[in-house]
Subunit: 161 residues, 2 copies
DNA sequence: TTGTGTGCAAAGACTTTGCAGGCCG
DNA sequence: CGGCCTGCAAAGTCTTTGCACACAA
């Protein structure tokens, strides 16, 4: 069932499977919903804001409203199809729950997001009696490229002193 | 320098140390700033929203404005005195960076927050070249008490069927 | 046909900002 | 006394909601 895409990306589901899941749970298969799902599955980056998703969906389905996007992202989150991530106070990010569970390395300089399969819940000694259901884990810093640029910049600045 | 409080809590700094740190960095020691710092050090729970902090500060310093609280929480964050945490899309939480580095277990039922000293950055295999500077790690679930209540509730419901 | 879903507009929650005057150092 | 800080009010950003109509089943 898993589909092999370019660059070794594994896609566990296709759009029809998700639509079927929604249908079975009593949701209607509107064209807006299909467009949103389509966009989520085609995202080139792992994370996208509602704004970003909206802009893409508009191309497929002109006239769609922002609140429709929000409402459906909510539905997809309830159904376990999408994960919502909030860092800083800006807009929330969304990503399809598809393939392996993972977390993110986010570059504070260029914004690049890398996925890592390591999950801290594996190693963490759980406090007695606490039953975890969800967790957030995101690492911010500088990616290889930006770190190198930064070092060169520091070097240059040092020379000027 | 560390001060031992009740229940084994270790406080690494006192208010004067923080004020001194601010002074040295060129900040003025206004009564608003002192009140905010005082409130942060006296919080009974590990995390507090700006709203919560504001309400406490008003008791000490009536007439203080909400934007002053926000502006100073920003300053304290810049200075590494306070950490800002955002989960869900609601208000951000703040906590004093004092004592050991830690993360949180948050009960989705009663809202209780427990601190855990485990930090995932210790065990995580870092992607080559990435230099981490910050990270978020919060675990949501049910605390012992709420889990038990939940189980009893499920049991009761089962009986009614 | 029925009621879930949508578009529209408005409100809501949280946070930030511009400006005139106040207070710390 | 100078400039950082504050209070106030307004605006900004992101998200949610109420309502009438539309469309999937």
């Amino acid at each position: 069932m898993a589909v092999k895409l370019g660059k070794g990306v594994l896609r566990m589901h296709n759009k029809n499977e998700f639509m079927e899941q929604l249908r079975q749970r009593g949701y209607k298969l509107t064209k807006q919903r299909q467009a949103i799902l389509g966009v989520l599955m085609d995202l080139e980056k792992p994370l996208a804001t509602a704004q970003h998703i909206f802009e893409k969906v508009v191309e497929i389905n002109p006239g769609i409203n922002f609140s429709t996007v929000y409402r459906n992202l909510d539905v997809l989150e309830q159904e376990g199809i999408v994960r919502k991530i909030a860092f800083d106070q800006g807009a929330a990010y969304y990503e399809l729950i598809d393939g392996k569970h993972h977390h993110h390395l986010i570059c504070k300089s260029c914004g690049k997001v890398q996925c890592v399969e390591y999950c801290p819940l594996r190693d963490m000694p759980m406090k007695e009696g606490f039953v975890p259901t969800d967790h957030s884990f995101e690492v911010f810093g500088f990616c290889k490229e930006c770190m190198q640029a930064k070092l060169m910049d520091d070097e240059r600045r040092k020379g000027k002193e």
